[in-house]
Assembly symmetry: C2
Homo-oligomer: 235 residues x 2
């Protein structure tokens, strides 16, 4: 949960070494968790891949497998999501006109796709989280906490756009969930396709530009060829 001090190189030699070791362990853990999932990963393999003894893992992550996984999630997955939302949907980005809103959310969708496209292991980790968590209220609470800031930031952007009149007056939180869910769905399909070699052509390669355009068109312009008679008042 606590983030290590990522300050540059004005740390003692010892501390720099510790930090590097910690990162090596997280890298190895990311790879193994990504390949095997939480249950399938073993600490022996993580230790071997990080080129440390298993005992050393416990010096750096006293909470064991669980703490390792949680740290990874906070420091790699959630941090990445925050960077995307801060880049594409900063609080001061204008969303006053439909065109501005469309462009901003398109950037957001594209940012998410590209982030995970270039960080496949993080994607695999992200995708393997739900099943582990859904059967354990405590873990689920933690995750909701972790992701809360991200969802909130998207929701605020949706609210701003609705308030400015550029988006339909729908409830903001569910709309934010839909936005995120669409990207998530595409990513999951691609993670799946990548895993089952023969069937991949059913989905095609992940092209962030084309995919972002598609999702944006569907969500913002709508699938229908006719114009809705009037913005539906609520839902």
């Amino acid at each position: 949960m606590q983030v290590p001090p990522t300050d540059p190189a004005l740390l003692s030699r010892r501390d720099r070494e510790r930090l590097a070791r910690r990162l090596a362990m997280l890298d190895a853990a990311l790879a193994v968790f990504g390949e095997k999932g939480f249950e399938g990963a073993t600490l022996d393999e993580i230790a071997e891949r990080a080129e440390f003894g298993k005992g050393t893992l416990y010096n750096y992550f006293p909470g064991g497998k669980d703490e390792l996984y949680r740290s990874l999630f906070g420091e790699r997955v959630v941090r990445g999501l925050h960077e995307v939302v801060e880049t594409a949907l900063p609080e001061d980005r204008p969303l006053g006109t439909p065109a501005e809103a469309r462009a901003a959310f398109r950037d957001f969708i594209f940012g998410l796709l590209e982030h995970f496209e270039t960080n496949r292991p993080v994607l695999r980790l992200y995708m393997s989280e739900a099943p582990r968590v859904i059967h354990d209220p405590e873990r689920m609470g933690e995750m909701i906490e972790l992701f809360g800031g991200f969802t909130d930031a998207v929701t605020r952007a949706v609210e701003r756009a609705i308030a400015a009149g550029s988006l339909r007056p729908l409830p903001a939180l569910p709309v934010a969930h839909l936005l995120i869910g669409n990207v998530r769905g595409v990513l999951m399909a691609h993670a799946a396709a990548e895993c089952a070699p023969g069937k991949a052509e059913r989905v095609g390669a992940l092209d962030p530009t084309a995919t972002a355009d598609l999702i944006t068109t569907v969500l913002f312009d709508g699938l229908l060829t006719t114009v809705p008679t009037a913005p539906s008042p609520d839902a």
Copy 2:
């Protein structure tokens, strides 16, 4: 994989008993897998809950835990999805006008939501599948096979609507995936909320009617308050 003969009562007494026992086992397995996930479920607990000895499980499902899970998936989850799509999107349902297409897909979305709303254990099973499968190409292939018919049916409906001019000329398969993904996303959010008691109000109760309306509005009418200048030619 093979479906048991569900013909009525013109089976021998012995066969009827076997069938009932099989169903009792699947019921118990559904409950336990749903609560604990694949890894967390134990055959001892399933056997105990089904009120059979563990050995008996192996008489009915010689493939063990794996076969039990796969049978459950085919006979409960996938069959349910097929029923929904056959009801809401039969091959002969007219999709020629935008209004017809909108209504048909709205029924489809509503059907999915309501199906899972009334079959919570099936929902939990469905939600817990991805992580298990994503790390194993063989299992993934099986799942794609299992779900293929469902996705295909939705894709065909989308193609018909596009051919009839009532939907934008976007690639049909990704659009079908988006449709399914939106419902899946909402369901997952609710499965999650249900699991973490304190945080549930962030999502609210699952109201199939309101949720179906929201998703339909977003996907078919679009989020923007302005009219798209022209149907985008492709993606």
